[in-house]
Symmetry: C2
Subunit: 473 residues, 2 copies
Amino acid sequence: MVSISTKDQRVDAWQKLVDIIESYLEQNQDPETPVVKYRSAQDLKEELELKIGEAGADSNEVFSEISKYLEYSVRTTHPQFNNQLNAGFNFNALMGEIVSFIANTSMATFEIAPVATLLENKLVEELNKSIGYENGHGIMVTGGSNANLMAIHCARNRMFPNAKHEGNPNKELCVFVSQEAHYSFQKAVSLLGLGLNNLIKVKSTVQGEMDSEDLENKIKKCIEDGKTPLLVASTAGTTVMGAFDPVAKNQEIAKKYNLWHHIDGAWGGAALFSEKLRHRIKGCEEADSFTFDAHKLLGTGLITSFFLTKDKNIIRETNSGGGGSYLFHEYENSEYDTGAYSLQCGRKVDSLKFWLTWKALGHKGLQEFVDNQVAKREHLVNLINEHPRLKMLHEPQFLNACFQVLPEEENVDINKYNFDLRFKLVKEGKYLVNFSSWEDGTVFFRHVFANNVTQKEDLNKLVDEIVSLSKTM
Amino acid sequence: MVSISTKDQRVDAWQKLVDIIESYLEQNQDPETPVVKYRSAQDLKEELELKIGEAGADSNEVFSEISKYLEYSVRTTHPQFNNQLNAGFNFNALMGEIVSFIANTSMATFEIAPVATLLENKLVEELNKSIGYENGHGIMVTGGSNANLMAIHCARNRMFPNAKHEGNPNKELCVFVSQEAHYSFQKAVSLLGLGLNNLIKVKSTVQGEMDSEDLENKIKKCIEDGKTPLLVASTAGTTVMGAFDPVAKNQEIAKKYNLWHHIDGAWGGAALFSEKLRHRIKGCEEADSFTFDAHKLLGTGLITSFFLTKDKNIIRETNSGGGGSYLFHEYENSEYDTGAYSLQCGRKVDSLKFWLTWKALGHKGLQEFVDNQVAKREHLVNLINEHPRLKMLHEPQFLNACFQVLPEEENVDINKYNFDLRFKLVKEGKYLVNFSSWEDGTVFFRHVFANNVTQKEDLNKLVDEIVSLSKTM
């Protein structure tokens, strides 16, 4: 019935699986391998023929499903995948994920996940040390979006401790983010019952940083309108441009008006580990909370997210309650039960993959890892600046490079041109780099340096390819 | 710097990893292997010596961390682990997890996760077919708690479409669950800004089913008090007793008073696949939404959760918004972008592990899988009923068996006795079975049949051990 269950079957299956994976990884090192075998959804559906039979499939069929999965999935460990804020390869993290799955312990209680609980606590402690939270707290969550949600949830609970029992106070609670902030704040204010109208977008500069003066004006306006300012989120490393909001200035303003100050460092939080970048988040230890995703830059695999707080008790106060009758028993280790203050009940172990990664790199290795990525970004930006057909649109602060390709001919709509060129590049399949747009209609390539596999020569090739492809337009 | 990166290093690492895992799995088949090597948190901390150095660790140290992780983690694939609602082993799911990690594609867009998107859609389609949703919708979420949260979020959006922009309406919105319902509803109403006071606990019968008469009375009372009934959740398979709320009756009441009817089938949703159990959720196709966790009974690994709806559009309407500038581009496949209606942005692929499991079992195999677990429960319940020292506390409807051990001597506090006995059993390490308590102070063993590895002879041993251990008390 179950196709792989005896020891012999497993040994055989391991061998087949490792062969498939190793051949996949080798293909990814070959520049001729397309980063994606593009199919429209409709075509792919027909090709895959997904079907569950009455009788079970044998192990050959299972392996054939696996091969198809890898064949048509985008190759995020390919050096020419620079499209999303997660990419690259890390064998230690892979081993961590496999072992976590084998053990399959849920994070709800120390009793069931003793080692994983201590690992998560240790990672929280190390991250808090990097931030400068001397007596902080934290928990792993289901993504940066979830961490940002938790920040507003905690802020509401601190300002209105009765909200937990009575619901939102009869006031309009306002959350301030920059116009470049991540869209998870929209999801969060909607979910929390605060309403999208109370998510106030603060202006950003041309470099993508929040304009603190506009922040203060908008807070004042909010108060004048009889509303209640609740939280300001400074983004450390915006999604599109990788810009850092002025943390220290925003902190002052938050303090002055009694707002919770959250730092969304999902992407740019890696600046914590880099001598070169650390100054970008100077003063972050004064903020109330911090989002950090290790899976974005460090290749630890989806999802490796943290929500960290300066206050030792606020996460527990905000989230505690329930489960006492069967899950959270009072005994000698009960203060270690993370489920008592999580939004999840059953929770996957996400700590081990990051733990093995960090352990293998060491503090110094982690710093070098981040700084290497910065060096690659500098390399690409130099190429762009030197090329007459390419134009940078900003001065990069982190690991994003936004640029346009200039059409050779006049009277061409540059935005449509860049859109079409990028889609052509993707359909060819050898390179995957994202694009983005601004409200004024500007469309541009957005290269992100989340992929540790990508090397400088790969960037040279990318530039050559874009330029030569543009000649066929 | 990175300790495992070349092909040769990987081949070597794979070998070591597989050896460690296989020896771990073999140990788990040996009845002499303790299911947990119990340490207090303080002792375990000292034993593990968790530390990140300035320099990185070599691969031997990494493997030593892995071995320690497995040594002190609770063995959830051990036949005597029957403590939590996830357990057991499933090699196909393991392969699915490994391959998902290797590909590491985020579910946000079809462009980046083409195969995984179609797989998830296909699983949603199959589950909806099982439920009876003819034109439904669904999405994988971060756990049953998250699915229950989504249900209330969608219900609020349907009743108050303006809430998304304006925040919670100036009314008290009430959510009805049984007193035996999962505590995630507490977390949800708090997070959504509805308040714990508006989570109305409906009485349960001695068998753990919601009392529909009390439900209707409480809805009426809510209306009389000027509040607004929003949603009723019927639990299909309660956490402690595995009871099924009366779905059809609750559906009638929900319809009469215009409430959203949600079914929390996180645990008991597996009844969908069993001829023996299907009648327990008769009428579920009329309900508005359904929570299902494949990781609970089917051994697919944390997390494999679904939120399913009868309405084709409500999830999208409720959750859409944002990300347009850089992520969700309008093009030929954009209707397939699940991120446009998810609460997450980056999202791990959880579909493949369940897909390979279901594919390998087939529809028939899945039914047998569930029915086998029912047969094991029947076996244990027979043992308990036949034993003079053991007493069942309910008539099991699903895969939970709640029972007490009767002290040999008189004048013994039976609740303290069961508590102490269970903790003694856990500290011995050979058996891990949970306990639970009721508000009246009754403490009892709660055996859950989530572990497919456990066989009838293991249950015989468990009963023998409990009884013989009780003689040492």
